[in-house]
């Protein structure tokens, strides 16, 4: 459980696993933070909450990570220590095989999460420009969630 940063010629990829969808989302977000800053201080910064809605599971993941990058720029804080509190959707926590939704475009998925925001002035952080769909994987395999996301840097 957790994340690892993976090699990518021009960019950075994060691979993560989790027991639940919420866990794997939060691990990917922690990977995004680690890709942005190598030395994250343990105690500084206030926690804040965010929520995201999207039309399917992958889009929810994409929009969650996109929202974190947006919030980083407008709050001037690096979001770290991610907790995904709730994910609601069709069979949100079931394994992928049983989740064949009839009309994914109209399904509403939603997520609430919290993170700790470290002021960018207090750390040496580099810019991750954007989350991408490139080679994105989000699968339920051997009783755990596995995910792979490439970030543009």
């Amino acid at each position: 459980m957790g994340f690892e940063l993976r090699d990518h010629t021009a960019d950075i990829a994060v691979e993560a696993t989790g027991e639940s969808l919420a866990d794997v989302f939060a691990s990917l977000a922690d990977g995004l933070a680690a890709a942005s800053c190598e030395d994250i201080p343990a105690d500084t910064g206030e926690r804040f909450s965010l929520s995201v809605t999207a039309e399917n599971r992958e889009a929810l993941l994409f929009d969650y990570l996109d929202e974190l990058i947006y919030l980083r720029d407008v709050r001037a804080e690096l979001p770290v220590d991610h907790h995904v509190e709730t994910i609601d959707g069709v069979d949100a926590d079931a394994d992928a095989a049983t989740d064949v939704s009839a009309n994914p475009a109209t399904e509403q998925w939603s997520l609430t999460a919290t993170a700790r925001g470290i002021p960018l002035t207090e750390i040496d952080a580099r810019e991750v420009k954007a989350v991408t769909y490139s080679e994105m994987q989000l699968e339920y395999v051997d009783e755990q969630w596995e995910a792979y996301v490439v970030f543009d840097v």
Binding site: R126, E127, T132, D152
Partner: protein, 488 residues
């Protein structure tokens, strides 16, 4: 077609002629793909997913003649970096993925009349002053921080806004593509989120591979064109590489998601979701074109503000006016962009959305879209190398319209991932070596950035430029070598 082939682990390229390789059309490919490279460069290109990605690009509706990979091509997402795709503007599509996240990421070069000898001894002072005054890194703010109303003006008017507000002179506009203002920019099509990200970043380098570099001209290969560009040996120039910052990144993702929601049918036909495209003539294609053009204007203003601030830094360090140091813009080129252009295809004039992602427009002498100042010699093309190697100034070559829809390479192209770079290099060592052995002064927000951008992580820019020159798509004019480099 010659009988020479190159086997790249399952993908066979057929040599059309020297430096031109073709992946033949098969399956759902709409046209063949081409790679412009020497065998030495192909050996590097085949190491990642570049060839698979350029092949995937041929699936885009309306793709014309070939999808083309430039000599510096490397793996991107969807479309490779170093990719050129001309898509029919009536029956094809417009692809945010094929423009890239950093809309109008690009390079500009400013001349000076200083010589390297005049600058020597002041490198440390200059690099410190530049680093202190040019915003860089994450959360470093911008030269100006404005409200959303002003962002709208910048999006609509580009460098004209900078001129009115004292950040530019008239001559700057005359030496920028489209005179620094893209027609058809529609600020209303740029989301509030994108504007909120951009408003505190106007006039900032960002981080990653973006930088500002003071350089000396080491070689002028073509005296006549060199003179037209105002370049001579030993002269000091300034190169600025950055893009549209958070505003452009957000705009790209906003439209990728809209395409996913509104044009799933088209998306399902494509082998990679990152190639997401809106059909030509659709409302979404119109909206994205308006938003992208606005982001293009934003990036031009970004580079303009950094350049103008650099003039002020030089004034303080050298204690004279920037005008007396003749600090004028040579040219500004975009290397992540899609533009509606007219091209001759099999004898017929056609309007195409020419997508250049990690590729530079390289129009030849006489082309009406080359600014008047350079029309007799061809459009300047600026190709940055890594911080330990040279950069190049080229001019659009006479074969570019036939071979590459008027395009050439954009840089050295990465060879090594950032993670690998950090394992092989230590930022402090790289910095010390550059200063002691090459007299290059580097200053960065983070040591990790220096390691990730170490000279060894890039392809050989000399070879990239040699191939461009041999093909006649971008001809060598001058070479420069770093003196001071600042980055995020």
């Amino acid at each position: 077609m010659s009988n020479v082939t190159f086997d790249a682990d399952g993908i066979t390229l057929e040599q059309v002629r020297e430096y031109v390789w073709e992946i033949p059309q098969e399956g759902d490919m709409r046209v063949p793909a081409r790679v412009l490279a020497s065998e030495a460069l192909l050996e590097e290109i085949k190491e990642d997913k570049t060839l698979e990605q350029i092949t995937n690009t041929t699936h885009l509706p309306g793709i014309t003649t070939n999808a083309i990979c430039m000599p510096d091509g490397h793996q991107g997402y969807g479309f490779p970096v170093g990719g050129v795709g001309a898509l029919d503007a009536e029956h094809g599509c417009l692809s945010p993925g094929a423009v890239g996240y950093d809309i109008n990421c690009g390079v500009r070069m400013m001349r000076t009349n200083l010589t390297y000898d005049e600058l020597k001894g002041q490198e440390a002072e200059l690099v410190d002053a530049l680093f202190a005054n040019i915003p860089s890194g994450l959360g470093g703010g911008g030269v100006v921080e404005v409200g959303v109303d002003t962002v709208d003006e910048i999006l609509a008017r580009g460098v004209d806004w900078a001129l009115e507000n004292g950040h530019a002179v008239e001559e700057d506009l005359l030496h920028c593509e489209d005179e620094g203002m893209r027609e058809g920019a529609d600020p209303e099509k740029v989301s509030q989120k994108a504007k909120d990200r951009g408003k505190n970043q106007i006039g900032s380098l960002g981080s990653g591979n973006h930088f500002l570099e003071v350089q000396r001209v080491t070689d002028v290969f073509d005296d006549e064109v060199g003179e037209a560009f105002g370049l001579e040996e030993d002269q000091i120039v300034v190169l600025i590489h950055c893009g549209s910052r958070g505003l452009g990144h957000q705009t790209c993702n906003d439209y990728l998601r809209k395409i996913e929601q509104q044009h799933q049918g088209l998306l399902d036909q494509l082998p990679d979701k990152e190639l997401a495209a809106a059909p030509a003539g659709s409302q979404l294609a119109e909206d994205y074109y308006g938003a992208m053009n606005a982001a293009i204007n934003f990036a031009w203003v970004n580079r303009q503000l950094i350049m103008h601030r650099t003039r002020q830094v030089f004034e303080r360090v050298f204690d004279r006016s920037w005008e007396s140091m003749d600090m004028h813009l040579l040219y500004d080129v975009a290397h992540n962009i899609a533009k509606k252009e007219m091209h001759t295809v099999e004898g017929e004039e056609r309007e195409l959305y020419v997508h250049r992602k990690g590729a530079t427009r390289a129009f030849p002498a006489g082309h009406p879209e080359v600014p008047k100042a350079y029309r007799d010699v061809g459009q300047p093309v600026i190709i940055p190398g890594s911080m330990g190697t040279g950069s190049y100034v080229l001019r659009g070559g006479e074969n570019s319209m036939d071979l590459t829809f008027g395009s050439t390479a954009h840089g050295a192209g990465r060879l090594m991932s950032r993670t690998q770079a950090k394992n092989e290099f230590w930022g402090g060592d790289v910095q010390d070596e550059l200063e002691e052995q090459e007299q290059i002064y580097v200053k960065a927000q983070s040591g990790a950035t220096v390691a990730e951008e170490a000279p060894g992580v890039y392809k050989d820019v000399d070879e990239v430029v040699r191939v461009s020159d041999e093909l006649g798509i971008g001809d060598k004019v001058a070479r420069t070598f770093p003196v001071c480099n600042i980055k995020g």
